[in-house]
């Protein structure tokens, strides 16, 4: 018998502990992946913008491979294929690793564009002041280019958060997996989907609001 009731509050309060665990796992995977993607983006983006041989070409290949294959296939490759090569990873590691590799590729493009947007004159001014190549990057290109890249990189982090839901495919108990599994048992499908929708929209909308806030706060003072 299908029960035609809708009681969101009962669903949430009865499954509060599990749902909170799921949300926590989503946030944990997202945090690990975002920190990793930031690091990958900064280093590889800098390598690309400065045309550092070998690293720059390898980064281009990495970016094209990630951009042109579905992320779900990437997750399956890490989860099902690596064990065959003798590399056993637990679900949590697969989860953050997969979205980090994905986000890192997009982020290195964000930062490459940001660093390349820094005017030559600024860099030359740094060199003229006696800065070496690395300290010119650290003191001039990074603060200016990093700000230019910030909005697009936050957009990538938003996608990272959304993509953690794909861990349903490997059964890792993040929010989506948790909510759908509960609803499979209790048939409270509508309630489970409402919770999923509301939580993800709250996460995504607050992150995009932060872009707008940061954009006005960190906007470069009009030069030229």
């Amino acid at each position: 018998m299908l029960v035609a009731t809708y009681d969101l509050w009962a669903f949430v309060s009865e499954n509060r502990a599990e749902l909170l665990d799921g949300l926590l796992n989503t946030l944990k995977v997202s945090a690990f992946a975002i920190v990793g993607a930031l690091f990958i983006g900064l280093t590889l983006g800098a390598a690309r913008a400065h045309r550092i041989p070998v690293v720059s070409q390898l980064t281009a290949v990495y970016v094209e491979v990630i951009r042109n294959t579905p992320i779900l296939v990437q997750i399956f490759l890490i989860f099902y294929a690596l064990p065959q090569l003798g590399i056993l990873l637990d679900q949590f590691t697969v989860a953050w690793l997969a979205v980090m590799i994905w986000g890192g590729a997009f982020n290195s493009e964000n930062f490459r564009a940001g660093f390349e947007a820094v005017s030559h004159r600024h860099r030359e001014a740094g060199l003229a002041l006696g800065f070496g190549r690395f300290s010119t990057f650290l003191n001039i290109t990074l603060p200016i280019g990093g700000r230019i890249a910030l909005p697009s990189s936050i957009n990538t982090y938003i996608s990272v958060v959304k993509n953690t839901s794909l861990m349903y495919g490997i059964g890792y108990a993040e929010l989506a997996t948790t909510a759908i599994n509960i609803s499979n048992l209790t048939l409270e499908t509508k309630e489970a989907l409402t919770v999923l929708g509301l939580v993800y929209l709250a996460l995504v909308w607050s992150l995009s609001a932060s872009i707008r806030l940061l954009e006005s706060r960190l906007a470069l003072p009009e030069s030229q």
Binding site: E64, V65, N68, T69, L77, S165, L166, T189
Partner: protein, 225 residues
């Protein structure tokens, strides 16, 4: 080449590929049609309509596509049994909801980028709102929409793999079924694990489809500027 490869490749190309292509074709067509209409309507200064379309865009761009897939596949039938769809159809509908939101946003920008004078000239020639947009504004805006359309196509092809999660037979699901089958003992399988080769093959197949399209998008973009 080992014996197991040929039937696996055959299954992925003959059973999986058509599923991916069907979902992608429906999703791209639906997204383009709905998205262009919504995006054009978004430029009208009529607040309630604008608010509704804005909400639609923000919701379906904000939700993870997987959640939209679940809403269509599990949520709609729980409201009415008539709204029950097959996995592939559900994935197509979910991708239309997401894709049309993307297209609407891009269309709004493209329509607003057409100079005011074009609207005025069309009005002066006696075109009403519909005629003005369908004969003068949209043909120009659509040209600017070409690069985002190609990127959308790539995204949709890749996201059609989400049908796998609900058991829809597309490329990834075909690969997953074959990789599972091979682990079974003969005569069904061969009792071996070949997940790495199969999923790598699936990745290569997607790359071969997507890469030329992303190059094309980049070329069109350069030409238009």
């Amino acid at each position: 080449m080992p014996d197991w490869v040929e039937p696996v490749a055959r299954y992925i190309l003959e059973e999986g590929l058509p599923g991916t292509l069907r979902v992608s074709a429906i999703a791209v067509t639906g997204s383009a049609l709905i998205g262009v209409v919504f995006g054009t309507l978004l430029t009208i200064r009529f607040l309630p309509l604008r608010g509704l379309i804005r909400f639609y865009i923000e919701v379906f761009r904000g939700l993870p596509i997987l959640v939209t897939v679940f809403i269509v596949y599990l949520g709609l039938p729980s409201i009415s049994p008539q709204l029950e769809f097959t996995p592939l159809t559900s994935a197509s509908i979910a991708l239309v909801l997401w894709g049309s939101a993307q297209v609407a946003e891009a269309t709004r920008g493209a329509v607003q980028s057409i100079p005011r004078g074009q609207h005025e000239a069309a009005s002066a020639l006696g075109f009403g709102w519909v005629g003005r947009h369908s004969s003068v504004i949209l043909p120009q805006a659509l040209r600017r929409l070409l690069p985002p359309f190609v990127s959308l196509l790539v995204n949709i092809i890749q996201n059609s793999t989400l049908a796998q999660v609900i058991g829809g037979l597309e490329i990834l699901e075909a690969g997953e079924r074959q990789s599972e089958r091979l682990t079974a003992s003969p005569p069904i399988g061969i009792g071996e694990i070949h997940a790495a080769e199969i999923f790598a093959g699936v990745a290569v197949l997607f790359f071969l489809i997507s890469f030329p399209l992303t190059r094309l998008a980049a070329t069109i973009e350069k030409r238009l500027i």
